[in-house]
């Protein structure tokens, strides 16, 4: 490059685009499987997916989830099934966003959004209760006063992250195996996966993965 090559480089860089993003007005788009704040999902008919099995609390390495299940009141069932998550709290001061809870959940009840800008100012606010975690009536995460959501940010949340893993079996790769979400319906499979493959359960084949459609449980 010689002694003066460096000067040309810096001068040319002045003409290039800047990579700075004017945060907080503009935010960089996050990857699809970004680990942010969790939400408790609901089925398309509004029933909660959480069945209070406490598997997420059991697997959590930071022990930040507190779940207690209770039997579904027969006249007003909260979740399809026998039990529902009666108490559900996550302590975000302890959560390490490993999303093992998302992998462990059998009903895809807990998934994560792309929010990472919690700016709670006291410990009480840091413990998110079920009301705060549950998606609202449109299926969107709740916009709490200390969180920084801009219009359109909640569109980028993805409740199907966990659901797009093929449950370890290669035969089910590309098959839509997840239930519909409130507000989003049944999301399509990922780019690159072929949704037109015949379902492996057609024909006599032991299927070990949960491939039933949600409406079956009514």
């Amino acid at each position: 490059m010689g002694y003066f090559g460096g000067f040309r480089v810096t001068l040319k860089t002045m003409l290039e685009d800047r990579v700075t993003v004017q945060y907080p007005e503009d935010k960089r788009p996050k990857p699809e499987r970004f680990h942010g704040r969790h939400v408790l999902n609901r089925y398309e008919d509004g029933m909660e997916k959480c069945i209070g099995c406490e598997l997420c609390a059991g697997v959590c390495p930071a022990r930040c989830i507190y779940v207690r299940g209770a039997d579904n009141p027969p006249e007003a069932p909260v979740s399809p099934g026998e039990r529902f998550g009666f108490v559900y709290e996550i302590n975000y001061l302890r959560c390490i966003h490993c999303d093992l809870c998302v992998e462990a959940c059998p009903t895809e009840a807990i998934t994560e959004t792309k929010l990472f800008e919690f700016s709670f100012t006291n410990r009480r606010d840091a413990i998110y209760t079920k009301d705060e975690l549950l998606v609202d009536d449109d299926g969107k995460p709740r916009d709490l006063p200390w969180e920084d959501w801009h219009p359109g940010d909640d569109e980028h949340t993805s409740a199907w992250m966990r659901a797009t893993s093929p449950s370890g079996s290669a035969e089910y790769e590309g098959q839509v195996q997840w239930s519909g979400e409130l507000g989003y319906g049944v999301r399509s499979s990922e780019d690159g996966q072929n949704p037109a493959q015949p379902h492996p359960s057609e024909g006599d084949h032991v299927d070990t993965a949960d491939a039933e459609q949600p409406e079956a449980h009514h």
Partner: protein, 397 residues
């Protein structure tokens, strides 16, 4: 008689003092002082903002852009923040000198700008005066004097801080500044040789046309040497070892906070602006430009344009070059710049007498260069031999 002495002392180049001193003259001088002070402060504020913005442009990012439009008020915000910081006095510091040192750096920086000619002659209230705060007959020597006092500021700051890293930084800084002042002075001597006068106004007036600019008349080498020596004098990158965060935490101003640090910071940038202004004055004709209808031949506009070029140059150097190591720095100053400027001064002196003498000195010098290089390399080798000899002696014992 006293009036006569006063008049003689004041009968310098500036036409303001030709008819004696009365109230109008004093008022004009005071107004010029305040104006120069204001211009320098604004220039420094601009330079700090300009540097941050241009460096960030060269690094693919936007610099400060929140405080004021395009971040213009960022420097002001930083200054105000520094005002409100806690003013620390280290326990082992020498109180009086610790307090004095920032002023020893900042005041010469202010003073040096006084001799810079910003424009031609202007008429205020019926009196003609130069657009220059002071035009003493010693002119450019004043700059060298204030640079020397600034070295005191740096040296005493480090020593009075009472801790290791500032002391190391200030020792290195003062050695660096002193060694490059010699090269600086020799290139100024080249300019003075051609001009025949030390006064900055005379230097500017002798560079009337484009081809008369000293950068061309002197053959370019004094200009290059002056630039390098000035960069080292200012402790600007690539010669900024003394305030390198990676090596000396903050060098001589580690222990300073709040207003004292603000004074050092301001002094550094004031020196940068002043030195760029001096380069423009000495080598590029100062406010002299091309005769254009509105602006005219001699105008502050030309001066500012040329100043921009050098300010941009300093920022460009900062963004591009890595730092010199201290021994490389000292080698450059003593073994390259001083011999080169001495040699060129001799050539110029020879040229003044007659062209034949000039060329004789030039080729004579080139013939002697191998002798000098051999002497330097012998010095190197003997130093190595000495070191290895002492090592062998130690092993024998």
């Amino acid at each position: 008689m006293l009036g006569g002495i006063v008049n003689a002392l004041l009968a310098v180049g500036d036409p303001l003092f030709r008819d004696g001193v009365d109230f109008t003259v004093v008022a004009i001088v005071i107004a010029k002082t305040l104006l120069t002070f204001a211009v320098l402060m604004v220039a420094v504020l601009f330079m700090v903002w300009f540097e941050r913005k241009v460096i960030s442009d060269m690094q693919n990012r936007i610099g400060p852009n929140r405080a004021g439009p395009w971040g213009l008020l960022q420097t002001l915000a930083d200054g105000i923040k520094l005002f409100f910081k806690e003013d620390l006095l280290p326990d082992r510091a020498d109180r009086a000198i610790f307090r004095l040192a920032p002023y020893l750096s900042a005041v010469p920086a202010f003073l040096a700008f006084a001799i810079v000619p910003l424009g031609g002659t202007v008429t205020i209230a019926g009196r003609q005066t130069y657009l220059q705060l002071a035009d003493p007959p010693i002119g450019i020597l004043f700059l060298l004097a204030t640079s020397a006092v600034a070295v005191y500021g740096v040296m005493l700051a480090g020593w009075a801080s009472g801790s290791k890293y500032p002391l190391l930084g200030s020792v290195r800084a003062s050695a660096q500044m002193v060694s490059y002042e010699a090269a600086l002075g020799l290139s100024i001597a080249a300019v003075v040789l051609i001009t025949g006068s030390l006064s900055t106004q005379d230097i500017v007036q002798s560079q009337g046309g484009l081809l008369d600019w000293n950068i061309l008349r002197l053959g370019g080498l004094p200009f290059a040497i002056f630039l390098i020596a000035a960069t080292a004098e200012l402790n600007r990158p690539p010669f900024d070892l003394v305030e390198a965060e990676q090596e000396l935490v903050g060098g001589f101003h580690t222990e300073y906070s709040s207003i004292r640090f603000a004074l050092f910071y301001l002094a550094e940038f004031m020196n940068t602006v002043t030195m760029s202004a001096i380069v423009v004055t000495l080598f590029l004709g100062g406010p002299v430009g091309i005769d254009i209808p509105v602006i005219g031949k001699v105008s502050p506009v030309w001066f500012v344009l040329k100043l921009f070029v050098f300010l941009f140059g300093y920022v460009w150097l900062r963004a591009t070059l890595p730092r010199f190591r201290y021994d490389q720095l000292m080698d450059l100053g003593w073994k390259l710049l001083i011999p080169a400027s001495l040699f060129w001064l001799l050539v110029l002196a020879g040229m003044r007498v007659d062209a034949t003498y000039g060329f004789a000195v030039f080729f004579g010098g080139l013939a002697m260069a191998p002798v000098l290089l051999r002497a330097v390399s012998i010095g190197h080798d003997s130093a190595d031999v000495e070191h290895s000899a002492t090592r062998r002696l130690r092993e024998v014992r």
